[in-house]
């Protein structure tokens, strides 16, 4: 068939063939509000739901090329190649050195990244507002923008909606939320951090309180209470990072209950507001061995830098 022809790729070094592969990329356009900048590292990431189909398409093209010849196969199956590809294509991992040292499969991570900062285990199957509302008791009202409290911005620079509780306990309940999806069982050996965050605020004209409770399937519990005095209408982000479970015995599920109410017994929704409820896995930070809860006040002027 082709006796006089030579495979032209033979004379190219591996780095160059990899370079050709690196340039195969499908990417959404960078637009205001669809990505988050990380000033410290000069990188950014896209919203997870926006980015995922593009990543899958790129992955599909590249894995097709694996079948062309042995050399392509070896290059495209190398973890080092995919680590670079993740980095270049803005696949946000978090703690890259840790990811490398724990032997995470970057090839799979490229299209299925449970550590994406925007990936919320609580919103997996529900993206429309009605589906999300079902987890709240009926006496809680949804506010497109907070009424009586400061505005709250998300990491993309958009104003967040919130849920406002009333004079009787209003409650958000999620039972047995699965922490690992099918196929992610190997992540157990990395001992990821289970991170829960929620933003809470009171109204300027009414004091209120809230209770948070997490029950993990291994028996571990975390409880938190916060009250808001009259006039405190700023948002506060509450974070809990569960780190200190037995090695390789990460819990499989967690149940969540959030409750809030006002302290004046007023008709209407003057109780604690909740927003940006998020549950996700994350890579441990350096020297992170203890469980940690902390609170950040979201100052109104802290509008995220949007390119």
């Amino acid at each position: 068939m082709t006796t006089n022809s030579v495979n032209p790729f033979d004379c190219l070094p591996d780095e160059l063939i990899e370079y050709i592969f690196f340039t195969i990329i499908y990417s959404p356009p960078v637009e205001p509000y669809n990505h988050v900048n990380n000033i410290a590292t000069s990188t950014f990431y896209f919203s997870h739901s926006l980015h995922e189909p593009y990543l899958r398409r790129t992955y599909k093209d590249l894995t097709s090329l694996e079948l062309v010849c042995r050399r392509f196969y070896n290059l495209l199956r190398s973890s080092a190649f995919w680590l670079q590809k993740c980095h270049r294509d803005h696949v946000a991992i978090g703690n890259e050195p840790l990811a490398i040292s724990t032997g995470i499969d970057f090839r799979r991570l490229y299209f299925s990244n449970p550590f994406h900062p925007d990936y919320n285990l609580l919103n997996l199957n529900s993206s429309n507002q009605d589906q999300l509302n079902q987890f709240w008791t009926p006496n809680v009202s949804w506010e497109e923008t907070p009424v009586g409290s400061d505005l709250l911005y998300d990491e993309f620079g958009l104003v967040s909606s919130c849920y406002a509780t009333s004079y009787a306990w209003g409650q958000y309940q999620r039972d047995n939320v699965q922490l690992l999806r099918k196929g992610e069982e190997k992540l157990v050996s990395i001992n990821p951090v289970i991170e829960f965050t929620v933003c809470v605020a009171g109204r300027w004209d009414c004091s209120s309180i809230c209770n948070l409770e997490l029950c993990f399937s291994n028996g571990h519990e975390w409880k938190y209470q916060r009250s808001f005095s009259n006039g405190d209408c700023q948002w506060h982000r509450l974070v809990y990072r569960y780190v200190n479970y037995r090695q390789n015995e990460m819990p499989s599920h967690v149940s969540i209950i959030l409750k809030g109410k006002d302290q004046r017994f007023w008709a209407g929704n003057y109780g604690t507001k909740f927003a940006q409820i998020k549950l996700r896995l994350a890579l441990r930070q350096e020297n992170e061995t203890e469980n940690r809860e902390f609170e950040e006040t979201m100052l109104n002027s802290q509008i995220p830098q949007v390119a």
Binding site: C11, L12, I20, T43, S64, D105, G183
Partner: protein
């Protein structure tokens, strides 16, 4: 006085003489000489290094790995691009990457029109496309180290292969089939799985996998 390049082996454009511009000569491995100005020199990391290091005068730099039929269009490419703004260094480049200053991977669909027309003159069949790419890289002092042309060439190849079935790619580049797997019976099973993306996170469905993957 400026002269334009033609396809025979005479000098390339010279700029108007002034005190700060200097031209140097380069010579292909089959004896063609080109005289190039500073704007062209800047684009080739190899030539630039050499001309910075020493005063060459009239002696042409020999390029033993580049033949005249390839060198002439390369000089043409560099002359076209010599007034391009220098690209800003990318902040998110990996500082440890030894290839950092050569490879600037971006997307493959942002090649400008002049470059597209230029690169069309070189084909895979005649081997000229790969000749251009090889001449542009700089893994050895014999090559030229021209980032922009390298990018255009590689992106062109990327565009040729993206979205194609592996058998089409093999045919395009005359690559012989050597599956890293069981044998002649493997190909059919593999081809039918080509390019599949697992929709669930099932460990057994990671796409075409002719060999048990140690990573899985």
């Amino acid at each position: 006085m400026a002269t334009t390049t033609d396809s025979s082996n005479t000098s390339a454009t010279t700029t108007t003489e002034n005190a700060t511009s200097k031209t140097i000569k380069i010579q292909s491995n089959d004896g063609e000489t080109h005289e190039i100005d500073q704007g062209v020199v800047e684009q080739s990391s190899t030539i630039k290094t050499l001309s910075d290091l020493m005063d060459l005068g009239d002696v042409p730099i020999p390029l033993p790995n580049v033949k005249g039929s390839i060198l002439t269009p390369i000089v043409e490419f560099c002359n076209y691009h010599k007034n391009d703004p220098k690209p800003e260094p990318l902040d998110d480049d990996d500082d440890d990457d030894p290839n950092k200053d050569i490879y600037e991977p971006k997307r493959s669909d942002d090649i400008c029109e002049w470059d597209q027309n230029f690169i069309k003159r070189f084909t895979v069949q005649e081997g000229t496309l790969f000749d251009i790419i090889m001449a542009s890289i700089s893994c050895a002092a014999n090559y030229l180290g021209i980032k922009t042309l390298l990018a255009v060439g590689c992106k062109t190849i990327a565009n040729m292969v993206r979205g194609k079935a592996s058998s089409e790619v093999r045919e395009m580049f005359n690559i012989s089939y050597d599956p890293p797997g069981e044998g002649l019976n493997a190909p059919n099973a593999i081809e039918s799985q080509a390019g599949t993306v697992p929709t669930t996170q099932d460990t057994s469905a990671t796409g075409p996998s002719p060999q048990p993957d140690p990573m899985n």
